[in-house]
Amino acid sequence: MSEAMADRKLDRSHMQVSDEVAIQISNMNKWYGTFHVLRDIDLTVNRGERIVIAGPSGSGKSTLIRCINRLEEHQQGQIIVDGTELTSDLKNIDKVRSEVGMVFQHFNLFPHLTILENLTLAPIWVRKTPKKEAEEVAMHYLNKVKIPEQAHKYPGMLSGGQQQRVAIARSLCMKPRIMLFDEPTSALDPEMIKEVLDTMIELAEEGMTMLCVTHEMGFAQAVANRVIFMDQGQIVEQNNPHDFFNNPQSERTKLFLSQILGH
């Protein structure tokens, strides 16, 4: 377990999983050209779940979560997000995207806009929120990720950890019901990983539905209610973190865990 988690006692009072389905993926297949990247994916995510997706490089983790907000298109099967099915219908896609927040490995902040403008852009142009109100909301979330003093700087002037927290705040400003994280800490120096994980933990404590692709197994053990292990485009094993780490079933999972945990 990573050190970052050791000093933190989670407040679990709001971390409840409801029966309501947030994401329903059934029998989904995806190809890149002729390469079958996702194979027969079945996954149901209930509201309030915190799911960590793990697996070796190239196993299709990113592709899977990018299908959930249609950054990638699936060719077979069904993906229903918050009751909206993802098809080529642009209206549905926009609806899903404005309700699903996404945090990327490389932050992808808009370098030509200030932090505040990064945060208010989508609320103003997509949600049609008045500018003043959008700025108030933005400052609220900047306070939450503990960098309100950076509001008028440009992304290039911030450290990696700060940029990633801004990226999280930017997604939150759209008041999403689901958050997707694609290796949010992989591009960060070790001392910055903690500040980003702390932000994610706070989010989990508030009951946010989260899907995280991450190699932070400490985070998985402390926060996740379910760990999904993927290999070669398939879901190989899923379990609660305790059993996943202490009692893995498949050989692939065992091999992966022995490599990543170093025993």
Partner: protein, 467 residues
């Protein structure tokens, strides 16, 4: 935690070294010279060759500049004054600069008004060297060519808010209205023609707003159709009616009277202003998912880039006449502007495509993930960054376009180069070359260097990665 501070450390520094001055020979002029000019045998030889070239230029051009003659009415007079020595005869510029600027644009020549405005009484003036004549030949030109002069001043005023964002944004309304105003001032005729042309855009906007409630497709179609209907069917009868009720007009002036830097600036500035948006649309079209749009854009860009500008200009001046219905009076300057704009737009599209290629994939994804639609993510996220990356290439295209306007001389438009021949055709100035070309080159240089400096200023201003 390591134990650096415990007693077991093998070495601990207890005093810090203060900053010292660098050794002599490593600072100042000597260092700069040895590092930059004489750092090795090749560099030394190049330095000496460079010095020799500068010396050679100076020896030959120095006297020519030093013996400059400003007050002369003909080349013969210059030669007389110079008496065999080498020297520049700038008298031609002084005598004809108004022509180099405005071509054969009709002058406003009421002597009473001119002398009232300039304070010069031409009846008592004696000739070159007389202060009043100098003044009349000098800023009097501004009044005699008041229409193009005023247009130029207004153009500067219209450009300032576009170029510098410290100017209140409301000033952009003037910039938007300027093209119509400039058209009226330069070509003359009834003021209602440009006014009603301008109203077409307002009509389009109103149609867009009104139809937006129905659907965005209807709004787009309406925004295109309404102005077309306005321009082709409504503007003329209504315009004529208003014109006969309230006649405000200027003496109409034909395009073939236009010339000099005025024509270069008209073609250049219009081309620059239009080629950027068209280039952006072409670049977007080239990346489009819709095959038809994509093929049209690729075909257009590759065709235009594959032919020399001069062939397009000849097409504009000669060939179009065969295709247009007989009797149509399609202004030659307008045709040239269209060709020059299309030519520059094709290059612009490729410059901008390069900017798109340089933009990280993550920017598209972040914009998509936030739910921005295609046009919003282009306008708010992608294009601002793409244009910023592409500034050097864009300005390069602008400068190229502006200099290429000199090619219009081949289809009989009297740009500055064309006028230099026209001036030589006068027996007074027959045989004068260098001075005219030097003046024309200097003017072009000022414009192009100005654009280059502005682009550097803009790049610096838009830098956001560190402060």
């Amino acid at each position: 935690m390591s134990d650096t501070h415990s007693n077991t450390a093998a070495y601990v520094r207890d005093t810090m070294i203060p900053q010292k001055a660098p050794p002599t020979g490593q600072v100042g002029a000597v260092r700069w010279l040895t590092e930059n000019l004489f750092s090795g045998p090749v560099n030394t030889i190049l330095t000496l060759l460079g010095v020799a070239a500068v010396y050679f230029l100076f020896v030959h051009l120095g006297p020519w500049f030093q013996n400059s003659i400003w007050n002369a009415n003909s080349l013969a007079e210059c030669r007389e004054i110079l008496d065999g020595a080498s020297g520049a005869c700038w008298g031609v510029i002084k005598d004809r600069w108004h022509q180099l600027l405005f071509g054969f644009y009709p002058q406003y020549t009421d002597p009473a008004i001119i002398s009232a405005l300039t304070g010069v009484d031409l009846a008592t003036a004696k000739g070159w060297g007389d202060a009043s004549v100098e003044a009349e030949k000098g800023f009097g030109v501004v009044f005699r060519y008041w229409r193009p002069s005023l247009t130029f001043i207004l153009m500067v005023a219209a450009l300032v808010p576009v170029l510098f964002d410290a100017i209140p944004r409301k000033a952009l309304w003037f910039s938007a209205a300027f093209p119509f105003l400039a058209f009226w001032l330069l070509w003359g005729g009834s003021i209602w023609f440009p006014v009603f042309a301008m109203m077409g855009f307002a009509v389009g906007y109103i149609a867009f707003i009104a139809l937006q409630r129905i659907s965005s497709l209807a709004a787009t179609v309406g925004a295109v159709l309404a102005p077309v209907i306005w321009w082709f069917f409504l503007a003329e009868p209504i315009g004529d009616a208003v014109a006969s009720a309230i006649p405000i007009s200027l003496v109409p002036i034909q395009s073939h009277d236009f010339g000099g830097f005025m024509i270069s600036i008209i073609i250049g500035v219009t081309g620059i202003a239009l080629s950027l948006p068209i280039g952006i649309l072409l670049a977007l079209g080239r990346q489009s998912d819709m095959p038809l749009v994509k093929w049209i854009c690729v075909g257009f860009i590759e065709f235009i880039r594959g032919v020399p500008l001069i062939t397009l200009l000849f097409t504009a001046s000669l060939l179009l006449n065969y295709f247009l219905p007989p009797g149509t009076n399609f202004d030659i300057v307008l045709r040239v502007i269209i060709m020059v704009t299309l030519f520059a737009a094709a290059y612009m599209a490729e410059v901008i495509r390069g900017g798109f290629a340089a933009l990280p994939r993550g920017q598209y994804e972040a914009a998509d993930a936030l739910g921005l639609d295609y046009w919003k993510s282009q306008r708010l996220i992608l294009l601002p960054q793409v244009l910023k990356i592409s500034i050097p290439g864009i300005v390069n295209t602008f400068i190229g376009l502006f200099k290429d306007t000199t090619l219009v001389v081949f289809i009989g438009i009297l740009d500055p180069i064309g006028l230099s021949s026209a001036i030589r055709a006068d027996s007074n100035w027959n045989g004068i070359f260098m001075e005219l070309y030097a003046f024309i080159a200097l003017c072009f240089f000022i414009f192009c260097f100005g654009m280059s400096r502005y682009s550097q200023y803009l790049e610096g201003k838009l830098k956001t990665d560190h402060h």
